[in-house]
């Protein structure tokens, strides 16, 4: 925890404000891709105990689709979008421009469409963040997993859990008025690098 003491409530509030622009930008991209107004939830920056992560979205046994990518450059980190399985078919219908009820399975085409959505949301968010803090990032191609929430989130736990007991989680959600869309959006930056960047480039 000692490394994360610097991220006190004032810094977390400031990070939430920085993330706000990124999330709005990602929601704009999302809306254009699905042809429907998608609203972002208010982003929250918080320190989360790593071992409790699988309990943050529904239950760890719930079926879901996870869209995951990493980024490196001036800042490193991970991006994860989680879609409840029950909403995934509807989301694919919107993404590929089909009538509701058309999609009946999640094959490679459907996963590819969801991967593109993850790619787009992450890129919009990261571009906005890059402008805010004067840095540049390169995202990897997305990986799409259809599995239990716990198993999907194991990736975040396993890749960060060796060092810290907590992670810095930037969390928001995307939804539309008809509730066809229900997507959790997580960004988990490397805290050490982020701390150095913020000290250099902002008044935090």
């Amino acid at each position: 925890m000692s490394d994360l003491v610097w991220f006190d409530q004032a810094v977390l509030n400031a990070l939430s404000a920085i993330a706000d622009n990124g999330v709005k930008s990602a929601a704009t991209g999302f809306s254009e891709m699905v042809g429907r107004a998608v609203k972002p939830g208010k982003p929250m920056a918080s320190l989360v105990p790593i071992l409790k992560i699988p309990n943050y979205i529904g239950g760890p046994d719930d079926d879901a689709v996870g869209i995951y990518l990493r980024f490196d450059g001036d800042l490193e980190g991970q991006v994860m979008l989680i879609v409840p399985y029950s909403k995934a078919y509807e989301l694919v219908d919107l993404l590929v421009g089909e009538k509701p009820g058309t999609t009946q399975e999640l094959g490679s085409l459907e996963k590819s469409a969801m991967g593109e959505l993850g790619n787009l949301c992450a890129s919009f968010f990261l571009n906005s963040l890059a402008k805010s803090i004067g840095a540049s990032f390169r995202p990897t191609p997305p990986a799409v997993m259809v599995d239990m929430v716990g198993a999907i989130l194991d990736i975040v736990v396993a890749t960060t859990g060796g060092v810290d007991e907590h992670i810095l989680l930037l969390h928001s959600a995307f939804a539309d008025e008809a509730r066809f869309i229900d997507v959790d959006f997580w960004v988990i930056p490397d805290t050490k690098i982020l701390q150095e960047l913020l000290k250099k480039t902002t008044s935090l």
Binding site: I50, L51, K52, I53, P54, N55, G59, P60, D61, D63, Y68, L69, R70, T140, P141, P142, A143, M145, V146, D147, M148, V149, G150, A151, I152, L153, D154, I155, V157, A158, T159, G161, G162, V163
Partner: protein, 164 residues
């Protein structure tokens, strides 16, 4: 039957109560290690996250159940302390999947395979044979331990529970 006891990440549970069901939900790269003493029905389930503590991270204040290596040792100690006979204890393994199929990310982040290796190495050192294992692959698993029957099941997405 009462509600199942959920064993979260970096946790362990032991029971000899026949009404108990121990469950680890959604194991991805994490390892589920199950120890059973069929005579006393003392049953233990470990939900470990990483292969072993990083150098310099070991110590009294570190949760042993977070790691496969120290978790197995601590589970065995807890089982025998509860009254299980070490020579009767059987071990089953589940989990250790590699969740990432995307090019470029697969190898570097394959914690699952390293967790399996750590479990097998640790158990071999402790001279505890593994009876059955459902490990590796690319899917998550939910593991249940039915204490009354000393029975273990695994479920993957879209499928029914099956015996391990």
């Amino acid at each position: 039957m009462k509600d199942a006891t959920s064993v979260g990440l970096g946790e362990m549970a032991i029971s000899r109560n026949p009404e108990d069901v121990l469950v680890a939900f959604g194991l991805g790269s994490c390892m589920g290690v199950i120890m059973l003493d069929p005579l006393t029905h003392i049953s233990g389930l470990l939900h470990a996250v990483l292969p072993r503590a990083a150098d310099g991270m070991e110590g009294a204040d570190v949760n042993p159940f977070k790691y496969v290596e120290s978790g197995i040792e601590a589970l065995l100690t807890a089982m025998t302390k509860e009254g299980a006979n070490r020579t009767r204890i059987t071990v089953r393994l589940a989990g250790g999947a590699n969740m990432l199929m995307s090019a470029g990310m697969t190898r570097a982040f394959d914690i699952g395979t390293r967790n399996i290796e750590s479990a097998r190495t640790t158990l071999a050192r402790l001279r505890m044979p593994v009876v059955t294992a459902d490990v590796g692959g690319h899917t998550g698993r939910t593991v249940r331990v039915y204490v009354a029957e000393s029975r273990v099941t695994v479920r993957v997405i879209g499928e029914k529970e099956r015996d391990l």
